[in-house]
Every structure is written in structure tokens, then in C-alpha cells.
């Protein structure tokens, strides 16, 4: 079977890989680039564990063909902390104990990052609905929402300070 050659930008770096046309972006990230921070929970777009940011929008990488990545810009959890410095969301998740098992955490962080980029002052309800596509079975979401809202507050304070 002939494979497809794909060149794409992942976390700011140009990457190339060969894939089967049936493979998803999630398969390519994990199996071809060993970026295993993006998780598979269901493979059918129902759990959000595989969330990545694709040309600026948060999407399920399990519902995207690997071949579609050609010429695109992809951000994964591995690119969230920059220069040895954790993203404010990552810090807040640790501070608020917003993770228990941690499997949903990368997806929730990516989705939250997209939320705060769009709206740095979400209400609790907005945050809950935005994250409705990210299942968490451990926490009951309480501490996750607290962490996201606290991160938003810090982002607002930082931008006000400038």
C-alpha cells in the first residue's frame, strides 16, 4: 500500500512523516512522531482526550486524517510549556489539584488554552459548556473549572498590567 508524505508544522517545528491514508492525525502524532502526550480515549470524537490546536482551533485529532495535516500548523500539549516555563494553565492545574489520573489533562489543557485565547473572562457556565467535549471521570470537573477560571483571572491581570 502506498503511503502519503506529509509535511506539517508541529509546535513550531517543521515535521515530515509518511502515513497510511486511513490513519488519523492522532495516529500520526503518536505512532510516527512519538508525541504521546495527545491521548486516545475513544477514537470517535466523544471524549476530547486527543484535543490539539489545528490552525488556531481546538479539534479532535482522532477525527482528522493524518493527510489533512499537510501544510498546517498544529499545537500539542508538548508545546504548551515554553522555554522551561509552564503555561499559566499548567501551573493552575497543579496548584488546584485539577488532575487525578491525568489522562484527560492534556486534552483539557489544550481546549482550555483555546478558550482563554478566545475569551479571557469566561463565566463558569461558559467554561463548563466549552469543556463539555472533554470527559473527565475522576474529578467531577470542580477543581478543573476552578483552575481554568483562576488562570483566566491571572491572564487578565497580566494583560491589564501591561
Amino acid at each position: 500500500m502506498k503511503k502519503v508524505h506529509v509535511s506539517t508544522t508541529i509546535n513550531g517545528t517543521l515535521k515530515e512523516f509518511l502515513c497510511d491514508t486511513r490513519e488519523t492525525l492522532l495516529d500520526a502524532l503518536r505512532d510516527h512522531m512519538l508525541l504521546t502526550g495527545t491521548k486516545e480515549g475513544c477514537g470517535t470524537g466523544d471524549c476530547g482526550s486527543c484535543s490539539v490546536i489545528f490552525d488556531g482551533d481546538v479539534i479532535c485529532s482522532c477525527l482528522t486524517l493524518a493527510a489533512e495535516a499537510e501544510g498546517r500548523n498544529i499545537e500539542t500539549i508538548e508545546g504548551m510549556a515554553e522555554g522551561g516555563e509552564l503555561h499559566v494553565l499548567q501551573k493552575k492545574f497543579l496548584e488546584h489539584a485539577a488532575l487525578q489520573c491525568g489522562i484527560c489533562t492534556p486534552g483539557i489543557l489544550m481546549a482550555s488554552k483555546a478558550l482563554l485565547k478566545k475569551n479571557n473572562n469566561p463565566s463558569e457556565e461558559e467554561a463548563r459548556f466549552w469543556l463539555a467535549g472533554n470527559l473527565c471521570r475522576c474529578t467531577g470537573y470542580d477543581k478543573i473549572i476552578n483552575a481554568v477560571l483562576d488562570a483566566a483571572r491571572e491572564i487578565r491581570e497580566e494583560s491589564d498590567g501591561v
Binding site: 503518536r30 504548551m80 469543556l131 475522576c138 467531577g140 478543573i144
Partner: protein, 748 residues
């Protein structure tokens, strides 16, 4: 073993909320879970599963794969050990069918190929001939005389003679004279209740990477709640030795009991042995729903007699649990937990374990207890309504306290049920006015908690820091709590402790992380290992100073000379002793290994406000409060997290989660789209209050917390929904169609 008296000591580190040691890995995507391991030459395995609920396997034709170069190995039941009995045979029969497929999704064969796509294509070429047999998926139907027999001879010896072969377990407990008790009652209520099977719903699929050499040596990397058990089971199923199969537990993406069982690891090992390559198997979500978990579905009958003042005079319950195609449903637990919160002179509980053509039930957070609480606490709620009594007062009147005889036999030691009820009574939630259309529900819940085989090792490094090796996979932040305990005991900073879940070759056997045992048992072992280390540090200092052991003592992180020698020597810190330990006698390691008993039972009281849309049957949870006795909270944030997680799972189970089978016994909702676990927008904030009534069986007073939190929600929500809808809900889940139906039936 002797237990330390609970000291009213003040803690420095225990009870604080440091960041978890595995946190940064988990927020940066570096943590390696079950599916995150790769090895050179690795193959991908896939499993063929039965499309029938009950069928004789006439033949499995793999000839189409024989010339397929992409297929590196195929295994069927013939590739596993054939002389197994008892539970070992049950596990094998479940992970790879023998003569019959016993449920939709039962494994039939497996292949290994270079890629997962190839493996899935290869499965399509296997031809299986089935003879479809009549099936049964309902617990009541399975007990009937003419029900299809799942398997003859599976019953335990406690089952009365002459029962249907599908009835494989019987439990009866209680005391007093129930009939006499009912005669004393002013009001007797009895009712039937049903609950559907609910899946643990961990987000991480079962995954493993296994290597097995022809000589029987194996290595497994997998997500499990108990890697020592995986080694034991794999060895048995493959005819190898437990010591020859080294299992490393990956980070685990949720378990809730569902990852105490073994499903794919022996299959991956068998494939690897045939292919002489490492084999990785990752279950799809569809496979997870069809062939792992869930907990039992139930049919229950409860009868309670009460005085006008709220005092229960007698209670009786029958709990029939369907456990899938194998024995082992937690019916004894249901029967024993059902009335545990109440001091009863007359009580009788009966449990039945029933087999059906469904996947083998697996433990799910306090197995058996939540369903029983749903039945019992619903009836108590109904008494409160009929007798116009306050639901918390009624529970307080009947609540067990230290010295009360439990419904299952022994007397309770120190417990905190009354404290949770008192806290509920004075909680702002309980005082808040109830809005129009909203119903408020209360329920108590009980769970035993466990100890079990535990072994830890605490090694001192030359720089005075410590590394702790535990054998219990960290399913809820236990490395943080264990590090806190070491820090507390040794007086070294929390950050200077590194806690690791060691593999099976590195530590002695550790029982599975289950039964809310880790913070209790591994915590206790960690305290003892640290005390062992302190003793060795003292000995070492004494040796250096040329003093007797008795002439030194430990204080606040230092070994100091005692008595007449006080002042002769500068106190030595851990770091001082560590620096020179190579020259003063060698490495210093604290150990502890035992099967600690004395896990304190725990109780919780939940308050919930729910609002039912009477036109559509939709329920929204408006407010939720969890109050639970933790004994002593080592890391309060993770204790709260357990409380909230238990409540959230309970909300799902109560409202929407269920296994839906069609007439052919095929699971209709094997995915997260139609197996509806709560999403963020479904839930309100979940308020928590930690009660600390110390467990006399633990040096710090710790009780397990993970499981009790799921015992009250089913009943608390049912009581709230019933109140809002104006009709008693007796069946879970209380999905919108069921609520409307119940309301209609009531009106018409």
C-alpha cells in the same frame, strides 16, 4: 501485629496541600500511560470478538491468514494453559473463549501484525462458525426455571440445593427476630428496586506492551491497579512462573475497580511468544464497553418497619445481582452494606449471585454498596415523607456509633457517621430554602475499606534525600500522600522525597490498589518503613559515637546523644549520617512488609438538590454537597477530589448511565456517545466537607476515602428526583423516558 495508639500529634506536612510529584509530567504530556510505550520491532495485536450473546463455537478457521505475510502470530484458546481450575479458569475463559461465546464481545482469537490497520484487516479474514444458543441478560429472567443455562456447576457451596444453575452464590446475614420487629412497627413499607449495570468509564483504554521469550521469561508494561496480580495471573494462564514475568505499572488513566481485572496482558504475551517480537494491545472504547467492567445490574426488595418517632424496628432486604457470565458479583457486599449505617435489633439480608450472558462484572468503587443504599435509603426517605419526619433526624435516631452492633455481625469501633449527619444538619446547603420545583435528597452510605499485602522500601541517598518504592499503582495521587508521610516522619522537605511505583521484580508482592486501601495500607507501611529507617539512623549514629543504641534518640530530624552523653556530641542530621554511610556500615534502607488489618470503615452523608422538567423528564442537579469521614486527610485536595469524583460518578449512574441490550443480547450503546457519563456542563459545583474521626487501626487515623463517596449518591439523587417529580423513582437510571413514564403511570 500491634498497632500504635492514635496520637493526638500535630502534623507539619500531613494535612497540607503540596503539588503532586507526578504533576509536571502530567500537565506537559510527558507522563507515560499504558498506550505510551514503544519498543523496537513492536507489533500490534487485535482481538476478534463474538457478535453473539451466547453461541457454541463450532470452528475457528484461520487458514486465510496462513499465507498472509503481514500476520506475525495468531492465538486462540489452544495457546493457553489447559489445566486451570477455579478462578484461574474463569479468568482464562473470560479473556479467550473456550467452547462457547458467553456474551457479545467475548474474545475468540487474536492476531499480531506490524500495524494496527493490518491487524484489524487480518481479523476480518478469520472465519468462525457459531451455533447460536438461547441467551438471557436480565437478572430475574436468568433465575427462572426455563432460563438458558450459562454453565453448569458454577455455584458456590453456599447456594441452597435445587436452584437454577445460573444462581451461583447465596448470602444471608442478620440478627434478631425480623417478624417480631415488624409487629412493633407503626408503619411498614416495602418496595422493589432495580438498577442497571454501570461501567467504571475510565478515560484511558486498557493497554499493554508485552514481550515473551520462548523460555517463558516475560516483560509487561501495562495500565493496571495491580501489577503484581497481573504477573501472577499471566504466569498461570501461560504456564510460566510469576517471578519470570516482570510487570511494570504505567501511569494509570483511571480504574475505579475496573483495572483490578486482567484482560489483554496474557493475550499480548501469548502473541509475543509466537511472534518473538514485542506486542502491544490497546482496547478500543467499543471493546471496553463490551468486554470489561461493568458492575452488576440488580433487582432488589427491601422492607422496613418504623415507629412514628422514626425508630426502625425491623429491616429486611433481598439483593439479586447479575454478574455476567461468571460467578463473583458483589451480592454479599450489597447485603452487608445495605443496613450498615443503622443500629437494628432485627435485620435480615439476603444476596443472590446470578449469571447472565453479559461481560463478567468487575469491581466498581465500593462494589455492591451503592445499589443497596439506593434501595434502603429510598424507603427511609419515603418514611420521612409519610411520617413527616426530618430526613437527617431519622437517620440520627437510628445511626450506628462506636459499640453498635453492625447489621453484618461485629460491633463498630470508632466511626464517624453521626459526625457526618451533624455536619450535614448544620451545613448551609441544608439550611438553604428549597426553590419551587426543586427536590432535596439526603442519603448515607457505608463502605468497609481494606488493608491487604503491602510492601514498601525507603532508601536513603548520600545527599540525605529519600526515595520511596511502593508496589501500589497511584490511582488518585498516592505518591503525593506517601511523600508527605515520609517528609513528616523524617523531617526532610516534601520535595526531597521521591516516590516511585516499583515493578514486580523490585519489591515483594503488593495487593492490588483497590478497596480504598492505598492511603491506609501503603501509608501505614510507609510510616513503618520510615520508623525503621530512623531506628537504623540512630544505630548508625550510636556506632559513630561509640555509644549504645539506647544512648541516642531521634528528635526533629536529628539523632542526638541522650542522658549522660547529652552535649558530648553534636547532633547528627540525616544528611550528616547519609554523607558518610558508605564508610560507617553501608546503605541505609527502611523496610516494611505485612498485611495490615484494621482499615477503618467509613461513612458519608450527601445532600443534593435536583430539579425535574416535568414535561420532558430531564433532571438537572442544582446543588451537591458531600460530607464524609476520612479519618485523617493526608492531602485534603485529593481527598476532596475523591469525594467529588465519587459524587459525579454517582450522578451519572443515577441519571443516565446504563447497559442497553437488544433482543438478541447485543449491547446497543458501546461508546461514550450513548453511554452517557456526566460532562462538565451537566454538573454543579460539588461542595465537600472532610470529617476527621480517627481510625484506631492507623497511626495517623487514616481511613480509605475513595469508595464510600459513591455509596450515597444514587439514593440521594433518587430522593431528590422523587421529591421534585412527585413520584417515587424505583429504577435506575432515572433517565428522562423513565421519569416521564413513572409520572404518567402515576397519573393514569
Amino acid at each position: 501485629m500491634a498497632f500504635d495508639n492514635v496520637s493526638a500529634k500535630s502534623f507539619k506536612v500531613v494535612g497540607t496541600r503540596p503539588e503532586r510529584p507526578d504533576g509536571i509530567e502530567k500537565v506537559t504530556g510527558q507522563a507515560r500511560f499504558g498506550a505510551d510505550a514503544y519498543l523496537p520491532g513492536m507489533l500490534h495485536g487485535a482481538i476478534l470478538r463474538s457478535p453473539h450473546a451466547h453461541a457454541k463455537i463450532l470452528s475457528i478457521d484461520i487458514s486465510a491468514l496462513e499465507n498472509d505475510k503481514s500476520v506475525k502470530a495468531v492465538v486462540t484458546r489452544n495457546d493457553f494453559e489447559c489445566n486451570l481450575t477455579g478462578e484461574d479458569w474463569n479468568i482464562l475463559e473470560n479473556i479467550m473463549a473456550g467452547e462457547k461465546a458467553l456474551y457479545d464481545g467475548h474474545a475468540i482469537a487474536a492476531v499480531a501484525c506490524s500495524s494496527l490497520l493490518e491487524a484489524k484487516d487480518a481479523l476480518k479474514k478469520i472465519i468462525v462458525q457459531y451455533e447460536i444458543l438461547p441467551h438471557v441478560t436480565d437478572v430475574e429472567e436468568a433465575m427462572k426455571e426455563n432460563a438458558p443455562v450459562i454453565r453448569e456447576g458454577s455455584a458456590r457451596s453456599s447456594v441452597p440445593k435445587g436452584m437454577h444453575p445460573n444462581i451461583v452464590g447465596y448470602h444471608e446475614s442478620g440478627h434478631g427476630d425480623v417478624e417480631a420487629g415488624f409487629k412493633e412497627a407503626d408503619l411498614i413499607l416495602e418496595e422493589n428496586f432495580r438498577t442497571e449495570a454501570a461501567h467504571q468509564g475510565y478515560i484511558e483504554p486498557h493497554a499493554c506492551l508485552a514481550t515473551m521469550m520462548p523460555d517463558g521469561k516475560g516483560e509487561v508494561w501495562c495500565c493496571t491497579q495491580g501489577h503484581f496480580n497481573v504477573a501472577k495471573v499471566c504466569a498461570k494462564l501461560l504456564g510460566s512462573d510469576a517471578s519470570q514475568i516482570r510487570v511494570t505499572a504505567s501511569e494509570i488513566g483511571g480504574g475505579f475497580g475496573g483495572k483490578t481485572a486482567v484482560f489483554i496482558e496474557p493475550v499480548a504475551l501469548a502473541l509475543s511468544k509466537k511472534a518473538t517480537h514485542p506486542v502491544k494491545i490497546v482496547m478500543s472504547r467499543n471493546e471496553i464497553f463490551r468486554a470489561t467492567g461493568p458492575t452488576s445490574s440488580t433487582s432488589m426488595h427491601v422492607k422496613i418497619g418504623m415507629k412514628k418517632n422514626g425508630k426502625i424496628t425491623a429491616a429486611e432486604g433481598t439483593f439479586k445481582l447479575q454478574g455476567g457470565a461468571f460467578p463473583g458479583s458483589p451480592m454479599a457486599e450489597s447485603a452487608m452494606c445495605a443496613f450498615a449505617p443503622y443500629e437494628l435489633d432485627n435485620v435480615r439480608s439476603v444476596g443472590w449471585d446470578v449469571m447472565c450472558n453479559r461481560p463478567k462484572q468487575a469491581a466498581y468503587r465500593a462494589p455492591g454498596s451503592p445499589m443497596a443504599a439506593f434501595a434502603v435509603e429510598s424507603i427511609i426517605d419515603e418514611f420521612c415523607k409519610r411520617l413527616k419526619l426530618d430526613p437527617i433526624e431519622v437517620r440520627l435516631i437510628n445511626a450506628v456509633t462506636e459499640g453498635s452492633k453492625s447489621s453484618y455481625g461485629p460491633k463498630f469501633q470508632r466511626i464517624g457517621l453521626v459526625e457526618t449527619l451533624e455536619a450535614a444538619k448544620s451545613h448551609p446547603h441544608y439550611a438553604a430554602p428549597i426553590e419551587r420545583g426543586v427536590g432535596r435528597g439526603i442519603s448515607c452510605g457505608f463502605w468497609f475499606n481494606f488493608g491487604g499485602e503491602t510492601c514498601v522500601s525507603l532508601a536513603l541517598s548520600e545527599d540525605g534525600t529519600a526515595s520511596l518504592s511502593v508496589g501500589t499503582p497511584d490511582i488518585g495521587g498516592s505518591r503525593a500522600s506517601m511523600s508527605q508521610i515520609v517528609s513528616e516522619e523524617l523531617n526532610i522537605p516534601y520535595e526531597k522525597v521521591r516516590a516511585t511505583v516499583a515493578d514486580t521484580a523490585t519489591l515483594g508482592y503488593n495487593e492490588i490498589s483497590h478497596g480504598s486501601r492505598v492511603t491506609f495500607a501503603t501509608g501505614l507501611a510507609t510510616i513503618k518503613a520510615a520508623q525503621d529507617m530512623k531506628k537504623k539512623l540512630c544505630l548508625r549514629a550510636a556506632k559513630v559515637w561509640g555509644l549504645d543504641e539506647e544512648a541516642v534518640y531521634w528528635e526533629e530530624g536529628y539523632v542526638k546523644p541522650a542522658g549522660p552523653n547529652a552535649g558530648d556530641h553534636e547532633p547528627l542530621s540525616i544528611a550528616d549520617i547519609a554523607k558518610t554511610m558508605g564508610r560507617t556500615g553501608g546503605p541505609i534502607v527502611g523496610h516494611y512488609e505485612a498485611s495490615p488489618e484494621g482499615a477503618g470503615v467509613s461513612f458519608a452523608t450527601h445532600i443534593v438538590d435536583a430539579k425535574v422538567d416535568k414535561e420532558t423528564g430531564f433532571t438537572s442537579i442544582e446543588r451537591y454537597t458531600v460530607i464524609q469521614d476520612a479519618g485523617k486527610a493526608i492531602h485534603p485536595s485529593y481527598v476532596e477530589g475523591q469525594f467529588q469524583g465519587g459524587a459525579a460518578q454517582g450522578i451519572g449512574w443515577a441519571l443516565n448511565e446504563e447497559y442497553i441490550y437488544d433482543k438478541k443480547g447485543i449491547l446497543q450503546n458501546a461508546g461514550f456517545l450513548d453511554y452517557r457519563i456526566p460532562v462538565a456542563s451537566d454538573l454543579p459545583k460539588i461542595d465537600t466537607e472532610i470529617i476527621e474521626v480517627p481510625n484506631p487501626g492507623h497511626p495517623y487515623g487514616v481511613r480509605g476515602v475513595g469508595e464510600t463517596s459513591i455509596c450515597p449518591p444514587l439514593a440521594a439523587i433518587a430522593n431528590a428526583v422523587s421529591s421534585s417529580a412527585g413520584i417515587r423513582m424505583k429504577q435506575l437510571p432515572m433517565s428522562p423516558p423513565k421519569i416521564l413514564e413513572a409520572m404518567d403511570d402515576n397519573n393514569g
